[in-house]
């Protein structure tokens, strides 16, 4: 009975992800400004989420192995780490494609890209470590310890490091309607991202209490560049001019000025700028997260089973793999 349920669940994963793939192209509406390229978000974010989950599961099983010493826990830890690595590569590749469309380049060592690259190197080192130790018990023990250390770096590299820098092009504010984007602090000559627009502060001019920020706004895909000049009253702390992004209902605003540091806080004003504020998009997005999570657990189980078979055969032959 349990066997049949498991088979049905696997079939359901197949149908579920196929439905998400169809929905991604047919049901999800085009995103204003990005066109069809915006659809990649349905794959990009869930794969990144699953990689976080996979590395967490790997660390849990590594801890269990160190505690109990059962080889099956090591099998699951390795299977989860390998799946996590695969999903991180997928998130990086889909992100690079998205970046090409929005920023005009596949790779520009943005803080987010750099941190995910470092994370990939850390987990690649885990696999190198495993393959370099001959003794099975020692290999399992050392890689379990390494896996725990690698896990400690993961939240920092995925959640903290990309948010430390203001000059990142990766959209860091939540996309869901109702959430508030914090904006970006930009000094003269630095770059940032508002929604999906690349913004660069060209200059700051002050006449009396009114500060005018000259901002160069680049369309996704580098389609066009426009210069906008939002203004701000430093005496009353009020926004004066809110220029529209070219051809869109979004407006660019200055929310604060620091004349000493020669910087401003820029933000976007819109009734719903997000990719996911549309109900159909949000539903497909959540379905994608669920489908990829289930796929990860299936993949991990298959890989762990294969590893246990491998060990059993090696034990029988009395050889070390």
């Amino acid at each position: 009975m349990a066997q049949r349920m498991a088979q049905a669940a696997k079939l359901l994963i197949g149908v579920w992800i196929a439905a998400v793939a169809v929905s991604m192209f047919v049901v999800v509406p085009q995103y204003e400004g990005l066109g069809n390229a915006g659809r990649i978000i349905i794959m990009h974010v869930p794969t990144a989420w699953v990689s976080v989950l996979a590395f967490t599961v790997s660390a849990l099983f590594s801890g269990l192995y160190l505690w109990r010493g059962q080889p099956k826990h090591d099998d699951y830890a390795l299977a989860a780490a390998e799946s996590g690595f695969l999903f991180t590569v997928l998130a990086t590749v889909t992100g690079a494609i998205f970046s090409q469309v929005v920023w005009g380049v596949y790779w520009n060592w943005d803080p987010r890209q750099t941190s995910i690259f470092v994370l990939l190197l850390i987990y690649a080192a885990l696999f190198a470590l495993r393959s370099s130790i001959e003794d099975v018990a020692r290999r399992r023990q050392l890689s379990a310890v390494y896996s725990l250390f690698a896990f400690v770096t993961m939240p920092f590299l995925i959640f903290v490091a990309p948010r430390i820098s203001d000059s990142t092009l990766h959209p860091n504010c939540a996309f869901i309607q109702g959430s508030k984007c914090e904006g970006v602090d930009l000094g003269v000559g630095t770059l940032g991202l508002l929604g999906d627009r690349k913004v660069e502060l060209i200059s700051l001019d002050r006449v009396g209490d009114v500060v005018t920020a000259k901002v160069e706004v680049t369309e996704p895909g580098m389609a066009s560049v426009a210069t906008l000049s939002p203004t701000y009253d430093t005496a009353s702390h009020k926004i004066i001019d809110r220029p529209n992004f070219p051809g869109l209902r979004f407006r660019l605003v200055v929310e604060g000025v620091d004349m000493v540091a020669n910087s401003v806080r820029l933000n976007i004003e819109a009734p719903g700028t997000g990719l996911i504020d549309n109900g159909r998009t949000l539903l497909t997005f959540l379905a994608s997260i669920f489908g990829f999570t289930a796929l990860f657990f299936w993949m991990m189980n298959v890989r762990a089973t294969l590893l246990s078979v491998q060990w059993a055969l090696a034990r029988r032959e009395g050889s070390r793999i």
Binding site: K10, I13, G14, I17, A18, A21, V22, M24, F25, V26, N36, W298, M299, N301, V302, T305, L306, S308, V309, A312, L313, R316
Partner: protein, 70 residues
């Protein structure tokens, strides 16, 4: 101009490619899964078979001087 890259058709071409890739991955995973489970079952069966049989003979303590049947 390539018809497959036409703005209207491109979305459906991309969808067909994505679906084909997914069907391929799914079929591969399904196959590997069933093979791995079959292998594990076989190994477990063989391990059970190779286990030494439980001894059938019984030993009874014989007190000194008692005749022993042979």
């Amino acid at each position: 101009m390539n018809v497959a890259l036409d703005a209207g058709a491109a979305v459906y071409v991309a969808m067909a490619v994505t679906l084909s890739v997914w069907i391929g991955i799914f079929a591969y995973l399904w196959r590997i899964d069933s093979q791995a489970r079959a292998l594990r079952r076989e190994i477990e069966r063989e391990e059970r078979r190779e286990q030494p049989a439980a001894p059938r003979a019984t030993v009874t303590r014989v007190s000194a001087g008692e005749p022993v049947e042979k």
